[in-house]
């Protein structure tokens, strides 16, 4: 049984080793698109080289579907709009065995079903340490004190009078993919990479508030603390606070969601999601880190020699292919739009490469849509799949020149017990039947 599996794998590997050479080149794409424009629209129907799939729907032309022949719902049928019932599968999910209960737990964003770079507010992953509190914004206060000239207490009305700013930034739990350090374990993209979201965040720069209270000389760290049952807390260095840290009250154009810290949270762009304290109630300015539980016992990276790294804030550059993926299998050979997401806590994504042969050969993908610093960045690539098995990978390069490493490179430095900050190149194994599974390769 075991032997048979090994033989099977060897066969797969040798067949994909040569697959990279069969790829359509950029030249071929250009030729095709030029040909299309010369031949006109009619030619486009068959330009793909494969016949268009026959539809089995009884409402396909020339028939007329019933919804065309009746009136639909009037306005405010849904005063707050919700997705189509046909999208009911696009939801956050959790993995029960990861945590002891659902109160101190995490849920995952369904990345495979999302497009563009913005995560809808209701699909942003959740992470609670004592459950989600229900807070009346009129009863919520933010206190800023410590090494300041003027300790103050702000109501939410006060906070909204400060100059406002917006930015699109990703939010990622440093444990994203942490279950994969020792080997492939999760069966879906939602669980290998779904502790990741990206929103437009609106609020007041922390630097504005610090200027308002007057920070004393010698102050270098800030304790941020939430109003939840865990009084969740982290120490933030002054440099980040003065750079781009944001006290957020709105997300994707509307009030921050309860799951995300309503009425206010901290966002430290590009840094561990854990530092982005939700339900923010207190900022204490001090002269050294506060060594809270979530920055000592947890969220430190254990190294092979038994030492641990502390205050590992930045989420380094990472990427993943979202189609194909276990949730988005291929339906037979032919042309596809391979796509995925890349991001870096250090700035903008400069390039993304894709390999179809397990990292032997690579070619650059196209960056599509907006390229914002510390934001999800969408990449894509035309691909004519010949139906043979493939090992699909993506590799991001950020504006600092940092290249996303392989598992082998990452483990050589950090071993496999560090839990956090796993940003290794991910591999999807595409099977001949179009299904996709999670694997790790040498």
């Amino acid at each position: 049984m075991r032997q048979k599996k090994v033989e099977e794998l060897d066969k797969l590997v040798s067949s994909i080793a040569t697959a990279g050479d069969k790829l359509p080149t950029v030249e071929r794409r250009q030729f095709l698109s030029q040909g299309l424009s010369m031949l006109g629209g009619a030619a486009a129907m068959v330009a793909g080289g494969t016949a268009l799939a026959a539809t089995t729907s009884k409402y396909a032309p020339p028939n007329v579907p019933p919804w065309t022949k009746t009136l639909g719902q009037g306005v405010i049928a849904d005063p707050y709009g919700v997705p189509s019932p046909f999208e009911s599968n696009v939801v956050r999910r959790n993995v029960p065995w990861l945590t002891a209960d659902r109160i101190a737990s995490i849920s995952f964003t369904p990345l495979a079903d999302l497009k563009g770079i913005i995560t809808p507010s209701g699909l942003v992953f959740e992470r609670y340490h004592a459950g989600r509190p229900e807070i009346d914004p009129d009863e919520h206060h933010l206190m800023i004190h410590g090494m300041v000239d003027r300790p103050i207490i702000l109501t939410m009305d006060d906070l909204m009078k400060f100059p406002s700013t917006s930015m699109i930034r990703f939010l990622e739990c440093p444990a994203n993919g942490g279950m994969e350090w020792r080997g492939a374990q999760m069966t879906k993209l939602q669980f290998t990479h779904g502790m990741l979201s990206c929103c437009e965040w609106t609020g007041v720069l922390l630097s504005t508030i610090l200027a308002e209270v007057g920070v004393n000389k010698g102050a270098s760290w800030i304790l941020a603390e939430g109003a939840d049952g865990a009084l969740m807390s982290r120490s933030i260095p002054m440099e980040k606070a003065l750079d781009d840290a944001l006290i957020v009250y709105a997300q994707n154009g509307e009030a921050l969601r309860r799951e995300q810290g309503y009425p206010i949270r901290l966002i430290n762009p590009g840094w561990e999601g854990n530092t982005c304290i939700k339900w923010l109630r207190r900022l204490e300015i001090g002269d050294s880190p506060y060594y809270q539980r979530e920055e000592t016992s947890k969220y430190t990276d254990l190294m092979p020699d038994g030492t641990a790294r502390e205050f590992t804030f930045v989420q380094e550059s990472n990427s993943v292919v979202t189609t194909p993926s276990p949730e988005n299998p291929l339906k037979g050979k032919g042309k596809y739009w391979l796509e995925g997401l890349a991001w870096s806590g250090r700035g903008k994504i400069k390039a993304v490469d894709v390999s179809l042969d397990g990292g032997i050969n690579w070619r650059p993908a196209r960056l599509t849509g907006m390229i914002e610093p510390r934001a999800l960045t969408r990449f894509g690539m035309e691909w004519d799949w010949d139906g043979s098995p493939a090992l699909i990978q993506s590799r991001s390069i950020d504006e600092t020149g940092y290249v996303q490493p392989t598992y082998t490179q990452l483990r050589a430095v950090r071993g496999s017990s560090s839990i956090y900050h796993k940003n290794a190149i991910h591999t999807w194994r595409l099977h001949a039947d179009g299904s996709v599974t999670n694997v790790q390769i040498s």
């Binding site: 590997v13 702000l154 006060d158 492939a184 539980r293 254990l302």
Partner: protein, 314 residues
């Protein structure tokens, strides 16, 4: 057009300012803190700050004036902590292990406990004070927090059984054994290259791991809208009640403990539901109203009780 300003007003302002400075420096009036640029919000008073300023720093700054003994801590720990963390700090289910694990940090399965991994005793005190006990955070007195902290140190063989932790004795135990084994962030620590062609030997490409059958068997939760009352009961149980009733935290009857549930059912299902909704002080423990989840409807709580009865007795 540009005009010369009227000099009369600035002069008056300057005089007033000079007087204010004179008065402030002479101590005749309280030194006014100049307002910030915007002046929004209110000044925080010392009492207001004290109510929320709960953090303890590694050098002991922030510790309250109180004390607690290992001896007192043992009782409190058994009562409030052991259901999740185990009587010896060994951890129950997936709840954190608090003691043991010394020398395991370089092993394949490191056990990171207070004794084996944590650096500062301040972190322990601070965390117990801010977030424990899990189901009733911010409920411990300063004395209780000292006592439980002392007992967890004792479980880790870091103090003797007659130790009393206080603001004064804190310095003796401020540094935990693994103190000093934390290093700053050296990243970027991996220097990968952007190779494009023939980057590795095709023969070297091997699949090293795939999700095991075992992982497949462990279901990933797919939340479904609860259709029937039974499903709603299960949903409420998982989301709210399981925290205590799975392990029997704080004297809660455990799901599946037939004898315990039958005993309670003798009062009648309606009474049980009433207690769950309104709260109840029983012999073995305390049931907060709706388990502290006041957002739940009475019906939801009732369905959860029925679910627990059905799961435990049938």
């Amino acid at each position: 057009m540009f005009r010369f300003p009227n000099l009369a007003w600035p002069k008056r302002i300057l005089m007033a300012l000079a007087l204010a400075v004179l008065l402030a420096s002479s101590g005749l009036i309280a030194k006014p803190k100049p307002a910030g640029h915007y002046g929004y919000g209110k000044a925080a008073t010392a009492a207001e700050i004290a109510g929320w300023d709960i953090d303890i720093r590694p050098d002991g700054r922030g510790l309250p004036d109180a004390s607690g003994s290992v001896e007192d801590g043992e009782m409190l720990y058994e009562d409030q902590c052991a259901a999740c963390h185990g009587s010896f700090g060994e951890g129950v289910g997936r709840y954190p292990v608090l003691a043991g694990g010394e020398g395991t940090l370089t092993e394949a399965r490191p056990e990171k406990t207070v004794g084996s991994f944590w650096a500062h005793t301040s972190t322990l005190f601070d965390y117990i004070r801010r977030a424990m006990p899990f189901t009733q955070p911010s409920s411990l007195s300063a004395e209780d927090t000292y006592a439980i902290t002392a007992y967890v140190l004792y479980l880790n063989d870091l103090v003797e059984d007659d130790f009393v932790l206080s603001k004064e004795t804190f310095a003796e135990v401020a540094k935990l054994p693994n103190h000093g084994n934390f290093t700053p962030d050296p990243r970027p620590d991996v220097d990968a290259k952007r190779c494009m062609k023939n980057c590795k030997d095709p023969a070297s490409v091997r699949i090293t791991s795939e999700p095991t059958i075992l992982a497949e068997e462990v279901a990933e939760d797919t939340p479904v809208k609860a259709a029937s009352p039974q499903e709603q009961g299960a949903e409420v149980y998982n989301g709210a009640c399981a925290v205590c009733h799975n392990q029997g935290v704080a004297g809660a009857p455990k799901l599946g403990d037939k004898a315990d549930w039958e005993k309670r059912l003798s009062a009648g299902e309606e009474t049980l539901i009433k207690h769950a909704i309104e709260g109840f002080q029983g012999q073995s423990g305390f049931m907060p109203a709706k388990g502290g989840r006041m957002d739940l409807s009475d019906t939801a709580v009732a369905e959860a009780v029925k679910f627990m009865l059905a799961e435990s007795i049938n």
